[in-house]
C-alpha cells in the first residue's frame, strides 16, 4: 500500500480506472478493520449510495475534480440525517436536521462523506483524550504505549495518516488542524477567518473557529479548500469575496521569497530535535531561492493568556444552548440537586453536568468567571486588547517578509495519559499555533521530518490575510523537494 493523494485518485476516477463505489467500499473496509478509533459513526450504505450517484454524475458528463472522492468529516459538522456528536455525550444520538454549508459545498461537487471522525469534546483539547467516544491512537505509534494523535481534529488526522480516508475536514480554533497534522505527518491548513462558512459547524469560540482541509499534500489541500470555501449568507462573518482558485499559484517559483523566522518561536521551550529539523528546512527553502531573515512577534507570549480568556468566554456563551430543552441530552432525574434552585434550574444543572466532560466544564467555568460582573474589563476586554497587539505584531512582521516559518508544536506527539492531569501543560502544546487564530491569518502545518525515534515533526507556515494560494505554493514547492509527506505510518489500512 502506498499513500493515495486526491490528485491521483481524481485522475484515476477521470480515466475510469476505478469507480467511486469501488473506492468508497475500499476505504469503508479499511475503517471497519481498523482499531485506532478514528471514527465515531459510519453509515456505509448511505456512503455507497452517494458514491453510486457520483458515478452516475460522471457517466452523464460531470467532471468536478473531487467528484466521487471519499472524504472523512469531523464530527463537528452537521450532516442532515446523520448523528452529529461533537465528541460529547451531550449530543449522543443527535440526528442533525440540516447540513453545514462547508459539507453542502463538498456534496454539490460530488464528494462522498465517508463517516464522522472522532474529536476532543466540543473541540476542546490537544490530544483527542477529552472525547466521550474514547481516545484515538496515533498511527505513528511505534512502541507498546500508544501516542496521542493531537487534537482536537485527532480522529481526522489519524484517519488520513492511517489511510482510512484520502483526506478529511478539520476545524481550528487554537491549532486543532495544525497540531494533529504535525503529530500525524499531514498537511493541514487553517484558512483566513471568514473563508469557510461556520454555518452548521458546532460553535466553540465563534471569533476564532475556522474549518479547513487535512491531507497528505499541499496540492490536495488546495483542491479540497476549493470545494469548502466560499461566501455564505447564513454566516454573518463569512467573507463576501469572488470565488478563488487556491491551486492557481501551485508550481510558481519562490525565488526571492522573503521568509521570516520569529525569534519567539525558537526559544527555550522548543525541543532540540525539532529545532535541528527546522534549521534543515530553512536551508532547503534557501536552496529554492528564499531569502531568510529573523523577525519578531514581541507579544507572542501573551497569546496563550489572551486565548484562554477569549475562547472559554465565547465557549461559555455558545454552549449555553445545551440546556436539555431543544436537542441533545436531558437528565431524567434532577429533583435531588442540592441548593435553592427551581426544578427548571435543577434540570439544566443536572443535564449539563451529565452531558459535559471535565475539560468542557472547566472552560465553561473559566468563561463564565471572565464574563461575570466586575471581572469583564480585567479579563475579556483586556484579552481583546492583547489580541489587537498580537495582530499588530503580525502586520509589522509582514511588512518585512512574505511568509513566516517556524515549528507547529514545541514537541512531537506524546504518550496517551501523560498530560491529562495537568490542563495547563496540555495548553502549552498550542503556543505557536494560537497567535495565528487570534490574528485570523491563514497558516499551514506540513511534514518537516522525523525525530530519531521516528516521530513526525510539523513545519508551520503563516501567510498574510487571504494569501492562501501563495501559502499553498510555498508548501508545495517544499514538498516537491522533500518526501517526508509521502512516508507511510506504521499503523495503516485495516491493521490493528
Amino acid at each position: 500500500m502506498t499513500i493515495s493523494t486526491l490528485k491521483q485518485l481524481s485522475a484515476d476516477l477521470a480515466k475510469g480506472q476505478v469507480s467511486s463505489v469501488e473506492l468508497t467500499k475500499q476505504y469503508i473496509e479499511r475503517i471497519q478493520a481498523s482499531s485506532i478509533n478514528a471514527f465515531i459513526s459510519l453509515d456505509p450504505d448511505h456512503a455507497i449510495a452517494i458514491a453510486e450517484e457520483a458515478d452516475k454524475r460522471r457517466a452523464s458528463g460531470e467532471n468536478h475534480s473531487l467528484l466521487g472522492i471519499p472524504v472523512a468529516q469531523k464530527d463537528i459538522f452537521c450532516i442532515e440525517g446523520t448523528q452529529t456528536t461533537c465528541g460529547s455525550k451531550m449530543l449522543e444520538g443527535f440526528t442533525a436536521p440540516y447540513t453545514a454549508t462547508v459539507i453542502e459545498n463538498m456534496h454539490q461537487q460530488g464528494v462522498v462523506s465517508l463517516g464522522k471522525t472522532n474529536m476532543d469534546e466540543f473541540a476542546m483539547g490537544s490530544s483527542n483524550e477529552s472525547s466521550y467516544y474514547g481516545p484515538v491512537i496515533n498511527p505513528w505509534t511505534n512502541s507498546a504505549s500508544p501516542l496521542v494523535p493531537g487534537g482536537s481534529s485527532g480522529g481526522s488526522a489519524a484517519a488520513v495518516a492511517a489511510q482510512l480516508a484520502p483526506a478529511a475536514t478539520g476545524t481550528d480554533t487554537g491549532g486543532s488542524i495544525r497540531q494533529p497534522a504535525a503529530f500525524c505527518n499531514l498537511t493541514g491548513l487553517k484558512p483566513s477567518y471568514g473563508r469557510c462558512s461556520r454555518y452548521g459547524m458546532i460553535a466553540f469560540a465563534s471569533s476564532l473557529d475556522q474549518a479547513g482541509p487535512m491531507t497528505h499534500t499541499a496540492e490536495d489541500a488546495a483542491m479540497l479548500l476549493n470545494t469548502m470555501a466560499g461566501f455564505d449568507s447564513k454566516d454573518s462573518t463569512s467573507l463576501d469575496l469572488p470565488a478563488e482558485n487556491f491551486c492557481a499559484e501551485l508550481g510558481d517559483s519562490i525565488e526571492g521569497l522573503k521568509l521570516g523566522l520569529p525569534k519567539e518561536f525558537f526559544g527555550d521551550g522548543l525541543n532540540d530535535e525539532i529545532r535541528t529539523l527546522m534549521e534543515a528546512a530553512i536551508k532547503h527553502f534557501e536552496s529554492l531561492g528564499a531569502k531568510v531573515s529573523e523577525i519578531t512577534l514581541p507579544n507572542a507570549e501573551l497569546a496563550l493568556p489572551s486565548y484562554y480568556v477569549i475562547a472559554p468566554a465565547e465557549a461559555s456563551s455558545n454552549l449555553s444552548r445545551f440546556d436539555g430543552v431543544r436537542y441533545g441530552h436531558r437528565a431524567e432525574n434532577y429533583s435531588d440537586v442540592k441548593g435553592d434552585f427551581s426544578d427548571l434550574e435543577k434540570m439544566y444543572m443536572r443535564t449539563r453536568s451529565e452531558g459535559f466532560g471535565d475539560e468542557v466544564k472547566r472552560r465553561i467555568m473559566i468563561g463564565a468567571y471572565a464574563l461575570s460582573s466586575g471581572y469583564y474589563d480585567a479579563y475579556y476586554a483586556q484579552a481583546q486588547k492583547l489580541r489587537r497587539l498580537i495582530s499588530n505584531d503580525f502586520n509589522s512582521a509582514f511588512a518585512e517578509c512574505d511568509i513566516i516559518l517556524g515549528p507547529t508544536t514545541p514537541s512531537p506527539a506524546f504518550q496517551a495519559g501523560s498530560r491529562t492531569d495537568d490542563p495547563v501543560s496540555m495548553y502549552l502544546n498550542d503556543i505557536y499555533t494560537i497567535p495565528v487564530n487570534l490574528a485570523g491569518l491563514p497558516a499551514m502545518s506540513i511534514p518537516g521530518g522525523f525525530t530519531q525515534s521516528g516521530l513526525p515533526v510539523g513545519l508551520q507556515l503563516i501567510a498574510p490575510y487571504l494569501k492562501e494560494a501563495k501559502l499553498l505554493n510555498v508548501a508545495h514547492r517544499y514538498q516537491q523537494e522533500t518526501d517526508w509527506h509521502l512516508q507511510q505510518a506504521p499503523i495503516h489500512g485495516g491493521q490493528a
Binding site: T95, P97, S192, Y193, G194, S233, S236, T237, D240, E301, L304, P305, S306, Y308, V309, S320, G324, V325, R326, Y327, H329, R330, K338, G339, S342, D343, L344, E345, K346, M347, Y348, M349, R350, R352, S353, F356, K361, R362, M365, I366, A368, Y369, A370, S372, Y379, Q382, A383, Q384, K385, L386, R387, R388, L389, P423, V424, Y427, L438, G440, L441, Y465
Partner: protein, 95 residues
C-alpha cells in the same frame, strides 16, 4: 490565588453546572492554575488600544427585509427531548 469552594460554587451556578461537594477543591485548584496563566495579561499596559472583537473589523451585512426561511418547526422539534403540539415541555416554572 486559589479559588475557595464558595467561589467555585458561585461560578458553577453562573455556568448552570452541578459540581459535587467533594469535587470543589479539584475544580478550585485547576481553575486557579488557568487563572494564574491568564494573570500574565495584567502586567501589560493597554491604554489607548482598541479591543479586537473580530479578526477583521467588518460590519454586519444588511439584507433585504424579505422572508428567506420556511417554517420547519416539526422537523426541528423532532430532535427535542420532550415536545408536544409545537411546544417544548420543561419542568413546571409557575406554581
Amino acid at each position: 490565588m486559589a479559588l475557595d469552594n464558595e467561589t467555585v460554587k458561585g461560578i458553577a451556578r453562573l455556568a448552570r453546572l452541578e459540581i459535587a461537594e467533594e469535587d470543589l477543591p479539584k475544580y478550585g485548584s485547576e481553575l486557579s492554575n488557568i487563572l494564574l496563566l491568564v494573570e500574565r495579561m495584567e502586567a501589560v499596559d493597554t491604554t489607548g488600544i482598541d479591543p479586537m472583537t473580530h479578526p477583521f473589523d467588518a460590519h454586519l451585512r444588511m439584507r433585504d427585509d424579505v422572508v428567506t426561511e420556511t417554517n420547519q418547526r416539526e422537523k426541528f422539534q423532532a430532535v427535542a427531548p420532550n415536545a408536544e403540539t409545537g411546544l417544548y415541555l420543561v419542568p413546571q416554572v409557575i406554581d
